[in-house]
């Protein structure tokens, strides 16, 4: 009797001990850059959600924008013998030695959001990133389709001069509208990716283009500049979203608020869900040994007023943008 009870007790204990192990099959270490922007915060919260959805134990290390902290975090993940390492690299160089250590420990590394410049591409399994040239193309294609055959003068709010994202988003947009002779960028100036500068630059565009009457559309390299530009247009007595079309990139919550109010037309999403595809790739790699392609491109989805912007705003605003 006593023996039986003991046996039952130990069986339950064994079951209890086994439970967390079976529930969380994979343990993944994620070296996150830090809280450099609202998008970054959203990426962290979405990564947690995606990991929880797949019952993966995700350990996030915040590097506070320092590469040495990221290297330390990766070394500690290797010491803990995690199943995989996610890395959102703060810079593109200087990763060779630590990635070799991970390779020797047979721990696959997945890059999130940014690519690196290693000596050999075999140092990581795959990179999940967005194609910022493609984002610009999606924006340009939408505008070309919406405008149709009408002549359209576009003003462009560029990102920070020298930032690769800004150069790529410009390149993609220019490529897309080059096919349409009726679309022309008449003014292009940097708004440093900020609301305040976006507003100031848009104010000057409006003055320079005869009170804004000749402007048909605004293209901004990010939503924040567009939010500023929308304010400038409203203060000048123009109707953004109606008289002047707007298209920007990132899909932050506040642009959906403007869209719901009819003051913005379209945004291309830079998805904060980089971890989702990465987790799927790791699961397939660990399970069936499927080697993913070296580059997994995330979807650059276009959102317009037809996509129930209020609902998207409500779902996005809690993510930490």
């Amino acid at each position: 009797m006593i023996l039986k009870a003991l046996f039952a007790a130990s069986a339950t204990a064994a079951l209890l001990l086994a439970l967390p192990a079976s529930a969380a099959e994979l343990t993944i270490g994620f070296s996150q850059i830090g809280s450099e922007s609202g998008w970054r915060a959203a990426e962290t919260s979405v990564s947690k959600q995606e990991a929880a959805k797949r019952k993966v134990n995700l350990k996030i290390a915040d590097a506070q924008q320092k590469q040495e902290n990221q290297i330390k975090a990766i070394r500690s993940f290797i010491a803990q013998n995690v199943d995989a390492i996610f890395l959102a690299p703060v810079v593109s160089t200087g990763w060779d030695s630590v990635l070799k250590e991970a390779k020797e420990a047979k721990i696959p590394v997945v890059l999130l959001d940014r690519d690196i410049d290693p000596s050999g591409k075999d140092l990581y399994l795959t990179a999940v990133t967005s194609d910022s040239v493609h984002e610009g193309e999606v924006a340009g294609d939408w505008l070309a389709k919406t405008v149709g055959a009408k002549a359209c003068n576009i003003v462009e709010l560029q990102g920070t001069v020298g930032a690769s994202v800004a150069a790529n988003r410009k390149k993609g947009f220019d490529t897309a509208i080059a096919k349409h002779a009726n679309l022309k960028v008449v003014r292009s100036q940097t708004g440093d990716f900020t609301r305040a500068k976006g507003k100031e630059v848009m104010e000057s565009f409006i003055k320079a283009e005869g009170g804004g009457k000749s402007i048909c559309a605004v293209y901004a390299h990010n939503d924040d500049m567009m939010v500023g530009a929308i304010q400038a247009m409203k203060e000048a007595g123009l109707k953004p979203g109606k008289e002047i079309l707007t298209v920007s990139i990132d899909a932050v919550p506040d642009i959906f608020k403007a869209m719901a109010a009819g003051e913005a037309n379209a945004t291309v999403e830079l998805t904060p869900n980089m971890a989702g595809p990465a987790l799927d790739a790791i699961a397939a790699f660990k399970g069936k040994g499927t080697v993913p392609p070296k580059w997994i491109q995330t979807d650059s989805k276009l959102y317009t007023a037809a996509d129930d912007p209020q609902k998207i705003y409500d779902s996005k605003k809690g993510l930490g943008y």
Partner: protein, 330 residues
Amino acid sequence: MTALLPRRGLAQILALIVILAVDRVVSPQFFDLRLQDGRLFGSLIDVLNRGTPVALLSLGMVLVIATRGIDLSVGAVMAISGAIAASLADTHGLPVVLAAALGAGLICGLWNGFLVAVLGMQPIVATLILMVAGRGIAQLITEGRIVTFSSPDLVWLGNGAVLGLPVPIAIAIGMLILTAAVVRGSALGLLIEATGGNARASELAGVGTRAMILAVYVWCGVCAALAGVIAAADIMGADANNAGLWLELDAILAVVIGGTSLFGGRFSLILAVLGALIIQTMNTGILLSGYPPEFNLLVKAVVVLAVLLLQSPKFSGIAAMIARLRGTKA
């Protein structure tokens, strides 16, 4: 000949006129003004409106520099006060919001003043501490995101109008008059200049140099906080990462363009504000010109160099000499 020997203020006014003329050339509608929703509208108004934050910063900065100090933290203080104002705007009335935001600026100023006047730290190092930490504090308040608000009272501070004049411009003019009345309407300005000229001699002569230094940093903090509130009100949100970023350098530049020496001992409030306007007239002109943005900083540097050369007595001496040589040759 007299034009080459700069009298106080002449060089700045000349520079402003030249830049305005260039702006008129790159943008023919530069001086056009009209009323839009009861608010004056035009490039000239943009210059004044966008120049307000730096003009407010320069009002505080010029007094600090007059005491032979410098305040690098003003940009960070802007971020802090903007963050506080935006966080409180939708739940509290405007008086509370302003009191909290300006109070934070006052505390920041007290901290800087304490480090410099009481602990005797070098101003550049003392204020560097808050320049770095302050932005972090602002990010903590906003939790790293852009805090938006819709309180009409606070929005009015950034986008409203008083008799057609945008509120920020009215505030800047008010602050200039207030500051001028306090420091030039009394002996205070003289005591500040004395402190900067020779702190030890002034101390021995009975000037409360410590109190003077403390006071100018506090005033600088309050001016920066006001600039921060206006910047936040302008975009209806507080962007802790970018609000006031590098504006401390523009403020110092405005003071220097205004002819105030970094070695202290004398200052001009009105010329510092004029310096801020020169910077903004140039910025707006660059935006209107339609040049590729890669040229922005280059153009700015060349113009600043030209303005400073115009003020330099040695340079006018050389220019006068060249003019004389040309005269004898011809």
